[in-house]
Symmetry: C2
Subunit: 146 residues, 2 copies
């Protein structure tokens, strides 16, 4: 199996596969006489494993750690759980701040309904007021970001 076929089989771009190899996430495959990479079934599974983790938005470092943990079937799986919990916590934190951000933007968007002159635009006024250090609608009492 050549790199293009692996790319199709896994949905990972060819360039990305080479990149994963360069950073040590994929094992360097054997080569044909012409220098082309040839992959076996193990490589397909490893690549799919990585793709699944990326779909869960895990970092490449975490994925590498996870692959290491997964390769020791007799070990304790608490490391796996810890890794996943950390990632889960990060995702929830990000989700929360994005929720707040969405509310802020919604409030800001409400400041200008119809098109008019820039100098009268409620949205821009908010920006300029905030730049003067005044209170703004989007970042009023109920939210945490500044």
């Amino acid at each position: 199996m050549r790199i293009g076929e692996l790319a199709k089989a896994t949905g990972i771009d060819v360039e990305t596969l080479r990149y994963y190899e360069r950073i040590g996430l994929l094992h360097p495959p054997s080569r044909q006489v012409n220098g082309y990479r040839t992959y076996d079934q193990d490589a397909v599974e490893r690549a799919n494993f990585i793709r699944h983790c990326r779909a869960l938005d895990m970092g490449l470092n975490d994925i590498n750690r996870l692959l290491g943990l997964a390769s020791k079937p007799e070990a304790d799986c608490s490391g796996v759980n810890r890794l996943l919990d950390e990632h889960f916590a990060r995702v929830r934190t990000k989700l929360e701040s994005l929720r707040i951000l969405e509310k802020q933007l919604a409030r800001l968007r409400n400041q200008c309904d119809i098109a008019h002159k820039v100098s009268d635009c409620g949205i821009l006024r908010e920006f300029i007021a905030a730049a003067h250090g005044e209170a703004c609608t989007c970042h009023s009492s109920s939210s945490s970001a500044s």
Copy 2:
């Protein structure tokens, strides 16, 4: 006002201020004889404007466009609204995919409650099954990501 004072006044790091200047987001300030940058009140406001936009997670390019739009008070503000709407849409999209991701991770996390051997870990089994192309709990019917 020197760069350190501007940094304190705006909450933007000194390095970041210099970076903003380098990429053309902040105007190059005048210099003292010793080469130190000196800022006026306009610079403070521009920096605060930028900071506010960053707090709304806008990209530096968008901020630059917005600053350009804001500098023409007689123009039509529809460009401002379009810019904000685009950003708003991006934020909502990201929020939605993060919501899905959170559910996926929660489902996955449920596969392993107590610590045991890696070979028996429900979480890892999910990863391995997915790598084999089988269905996984986290990416079952109800969600869109793969």
